[in-house]
């Protein structure tokens, strides 16, 4: 392993909270991936006689209004919620990076791209997302598409700003003086050197997307209720919240825990990847 990677690991282990957040996330992801093996019940199995049971030895986190096991649904819900979040991150970072680098490197494209970005960023995130889902139709895929459109402008801005700095550095000039082609300059010289801010943005967008999916589903403008996500669980449990708090509390906790961990990780990454922080502690 090379020295920067080692240094990074050492910094990670020095920051206990960030390390904890990373471990929590890792645990959630592992559980979500292993859902069929770790989940105690079938998340869709309804047993109306056991509806709205409080947490017990059999149902650790109780049952919902249709008698389904809350823990199992949270575990399967993690797949959907994190899957949607991850897809949003992937989509927004890929398109955002592409447009950000183009806007930052080529003056002619900068104006048009940034006007669109400004227009999108002028609208409140959640309203734009609701509008897009309403137009596109409520489905998991369309939620991903809508949220990707909402978060792409953030990535464009960050990447463009970093590109503007990096493209003025002498090593880019050296590559131009050597006659290195533009595609290679954009990837090897610019993309590789704006990767850290993209990674930081990705963690934050992950957190926002998990929250936004929950919000959309809660409002009924997101994933259809029959698919278990943390958002749909809260949406369907809310009318029983006074009698069966566990139907909303535990999926809510899952959302808070994963979003919080992602935000802490994002802040931590920002600190750790900051070159100014190299020496002083």
């Amino acid at each position: 392993m090379n020295a920067p990677a080692l240094l990074f690991l050492r910094r990670l282990f020095r920051r206990k909270l960030v390390l904890l957040a990373a471990l929590v996330l890792l645990a959630i992801v592992v559980v979500a991936l292993a859902a069929p093996w770790v989940s105690p019940f079938d998340p869709g199995a309804m047993r109306v006689v056991r509806r709205l049971r409080p947490p017990s030895a059999e149902h650790w986190l109780g049952t919902d209004e249709l008698g389904r096991d809350v823990l199992s649904r949270i575990i399967y819900g993690a797949r959907a919620s994190l899957g949607i979040g991850f897809s949003v991150v992937l989509a927004s970072c890929l398109t955002g990076t592409l447009f950000g680098i183009l806007a930052g490197y080529d003056r002619r494209l900068d104006g048009p791209i940034m006007r669109v970005v400004d227009a999108l960023m002028a609208l409140p995130d959640i309203l734009l997302a609701i509008f897009l889902v309403a137009v596109l139709g409520a489905s998991a895929g369309n939620v991903v598409l809508a949220l990707a459109i909402v978060y792409t402008p953030r990535v464009v801005r960050v990447v463009r700003a970093s590109t503007l700095v990096v493209r003025e550095l002498p090593f880019v000039e050296a590559a131009r003086a050597l006659g290195v082609g533009t595609p290679r300059i954009l990837t090897v010289h610019i993309l590789l050197n704006v990767a850290s801010p993209i990674l930081i943005q990705a963690t934050f967008i992950f957190a926002y997307a998990v929250l936004a999916e929950a919000g959309l589903s809660f409002l009924g403008a997101g994933v259809p209720p029959e698919i278990p996500t943390w958002g749909t669980m809260i949406a369907s449990g809310q009318q029983y919240a006074d009698r069966a708090f566990w139907t909303v509390l535990y999926p809510g906790l899952a959302i808070v825990l994963s979003a919080l961990s992602l935000q802490i990780l994002g802040d931590g990454l920002r600190d750790m990847l900051d070159p100014k922080l190299r020496k002083a502690l």
Partner: protein, 333 residues
Amino acid sequence: MTEPLLSIEDLEVRFRTEDGEVAPVTGVDVSVAPGETVALVGESGSGKSVSSLAVMGLLPRPAGRVAKGRILYRTKAGETIDLAQASPDRVRRLRGAEIAMIFQEPMTSLNPVLTAGEQIAESVRLHLRLDRRGALRRAQEMLELVEIPAAAKRLHDYPHQMSGGMRQRVMIALAMACNPRLLIADEPTTALDVTIQAQILALIDRLRRETGMGVLFITHNLGVVAEVADRVAVMYAGRIVETGPVGDLFRHPRHPYTAGLLDSLPARATRGPDGRRHVRSIPGSLGRAAAIRDACAFAPRCDRVREECRRTAPPLEAIGVDRAARCLFWREM
């Protein structure tokens, strides 16, 4: 010789870093008398700037601290205090009132949202207890003192409206506003063009002559040293390796590093057998020399190195009344 204003004795500064504790300064002995300019010369990583920050009580806290030694300062009132031991509050009051500092980059040292006049006025109101009108009048006098043309108008300019040379003049005005007895100048002309550098050097020199303040001038530029300094202290890897009056030291260096540094100057290039001019260079680089404790830190790069040099850390040995060198074999230089 008059009693020194500042005398640093056996200074050691330590920093905590992610890689454990480091000591960028391990052996600094320097004194400055009133009316005297002492140049602290060294390359990057030599510890010259850290030493000056230690004097000003400006080491980044809590990472940096004075681990050993004394920084004795004789106040206007005539008492001698150890700046390394004094309370931060005491040091802060001396700074600005008796000890002033100017830096390499005046843009970052000036407050961008205050005009030149406001910055100076703010400082003199604090230290000289003047009212607002008096402080502004004083500010204008100071700008005139540092030869800023149309000072009354310039009073209302913001730092970004000025050239680099003009900003450095404002920094100097700010430093001089409280009649300091000691001026610490950390690479004050490094960011400036040569014709502007010459103006600033002449200005600092004139102010020193007129006020009788002592100047500790930190620089990497030997040409600047030759122009401004009375005495020189050469630093390498956190230690003073040689001190002496400027003329004597430049003519007869007693430490191989000083000699090598002087020979590295392009102006001292000699014509080689190929007919082209070459400079004598010091091989290698500073590297981690600051960590060398029980040997001469310069030994890995020294062309006169002997076995003893790798076994013993040489002391700073006095040579006559006003010179010293940290070399076991200075007699052979």
